[in-house]
């Protein structure tokens, strides 16, 4: 099937070829996005200039969740088809996803200070992202803790899959918990509905983050994959 037909060598070549394109795309999108977000877009009528953190924060949070879905999906593929590429994809995505989650938390915290007057508030979204960070850390820690590499990969894959199943339940429970104590005035970070002049820079930054994630992830995957194929290449070269 698809998994079996994914030749590691072809994948490596593909990764090598798209690398410059992803790099250029990220650079351009970030260039345009940052200018758009920081200079061209209007300040918010309530938050003023500090709304601009949204353009850094929201894409980070979005990528954080997306990376976890990637992690879980690849882990499931690995468990079912034992394709080592799937596991490598998952392992590469984990630290990147964790970094984006931490970035989302930090930028969200910095955003909270001018908007809500506090660095942290226990609302549904922030709490969910925090839990997501713990899920990432648990995955990374488990992979490192188990000594046998093959076991480590598969145990971590199980954790990722069960974590992904639990994630919507966690989010639901945190949302439910949040509705029980509706705070008096919680400024919704993206306002009641987003104006087109704000939507555009947000979308550009989203695309920029997406391209950048793929760029870093592809490079990480190459870094994992290439050494594994290297000795086979040598064998091929010495074959008479």
């Amino acid at each position: 099937m698809l998994a079996r037909s994914l030749n590691p060598r072809t994948v490596l070549q593909l990764l090598r070829r798209i690398d410059p394109w992803l790099g250029i795309a990220s650079a351009l999108l970030f260039a345009f996005g940052i200018v758009d977000a920081l200079l061209l877009s209007p300040p918010d009528y309530q938050q003023g200039e500090s709304v601009r953190i949204m353009y850094v924060h929201v894409p980070a949070a979005y990528l954080a969740s997306q990376a976890y879905l990637l992690l879980a999906g690849m882990s499931a593929l690995y468990l079912i088809w034992r394709n080592p590429l799937a596991d490598m994809a998952a392992a590469t995505a984990a630290p990147i996803g964790a970094a984006f989650t931490a970035l989302a938390l930090v930028t969200g915290s910095l955003w909270g200070r001018p908007t809500w007057g506090t660095y942290w508030v226990w609302d549904a979204r922030l709490t969910s992202v925090l839990v997501l960070l713990f899920l990432y850390l648990g995955y990374i820690a488990l992979r490192q803790a188990v000594e046998t590499p093959d076991k480590a990969r598969r145990l971590a894959a199980w954790l990722a899959v069960i974590g992904a199943i639990d994630l919507p339940i966690i989010r639901f429970s945190v949302e439910w918990w949040n509705t029980l104590h509706q705070p008096a005035s919680l400024l919704r970070p993206d306002g009641p509905s987003i104006d087109p002049s704000m939507l555009r820079p947000l979308l550009v930054m989203m695309a920029a983050y997406q391209a950048f994630f793929l760029f870093v992830w592809a490079r990480g995957l190459r870094a994992r994959l290439a050494p594994r194929l290297k000795h086979e290449t040598l064998k091929e070269r010495t074959r008479v």
């Binding site: 839990v131 713990f134 899920l135 850390l137 648990g138 820690a141 488990l142 803790a145 188990v146 076991k151 598969r154 145990l155 199980w158 954790l159 069960i162 974590g163 199943i165 639990d166 339940i169 966690i170 639901f172 429970s173 945190v174 439910w176 918990w177 029980l180």
Partner: protein, 220 residues
């Protein structure tokens, strides 16, 4: 098959009772945690009544947490898990039997200690009843999720903190629904109990099989 199942349950009960602190470990720890809060906060009855559901649930969660290492304990090293894997019962049922053993050994003492804590926290009987019901529904979920985490880290040395890091995020919904089924403002409590029951049922259906698969992995 049933005899094999209960043989494992009884074996685990005997092991839990005779080693590592025995059956008093979990309720003892539970009571200890419950003692910390009035000392660290203002022990005014109103405050106590407010925090009681949270203290009981957090204490219960922590008590289950510290006893998780004992589920598989020596089973990997002394080969008994291998023996069980080769035996009559599928590993999923072995996992379920271990969960039941753990629940009876640690969950039941917690259920027995909880009303005493509730008393110490000046809770009225109706709320205590709700609290016990939430624990009754939630402890199996905590045990099953904990079993999964214990299986993942089975055979690892000094895996205590790792188990905690893995299991607590997964158990958060149980905690949330458990506490707020007791403490919720009008109407919220009932839905909380229903969600709690749903989670326990889901865990019961899904997790033993998952744990079985993980155990097979660990034994390779």
């Amino acid at each position: 098959m049933t005899r094999a199942f209960f043989a494992i349950v009884l074996r685990d009960l005997r092991l839990h009772a005779t080693s590592g602190g025995g059956l008093l470990l979990a309720p003892g720890f539970f009571a200890l945690v419950a003692t910390l809060f009035p000392l660290a906060l203002n022990p005014a009855p109103a405050t106590l009544r407010l925090i009681a559901p949270a203290v009981v649930w957090i204490g219960g969660l922590l008590a289950v947490l510290i006893s998780l290492e004992r589920i598989f304990g020596e089973d990997i090293e002394d080969g008994s898990l291998d023996a069980m894997a080769l035996g009559l019962l599928p590993l999923a049922l072995v996992a379920l039997a271990k969960a039941l053993g753990h629940l009876v050994a640690f969950g039941v003492p917690l259920l027995v200690t909880a009303p005493l804590i509730a008393l110490a926290y000046q809770l009225d009987t109706a709320t205590t009843g709700k609290l016990l019901l939430s624990l009754l529904l939630g402890l199996p979920a905590l045990t099953l999720i904990g079993l999964f985490a214990a299986a993942l880290t089975a055979g690892l040395k000094r895996a205590g903190a790792l188990i905690a890091l893995i299991v607590v995020p997964l158990e958060l919904p149980v905690l949330i629904f458990g506490v707020w089924s007791v403490a919720a403002p009008a109407g919220g409590g009932q839905t909380g109990l229903i969600y709690l029951a749903l989670i326990t049922l889901g865990a019961l259906i899904l997790l033993p099989a998952a744990v079985g698969a993980v155990l097979r992995l660990v034994l390779e």
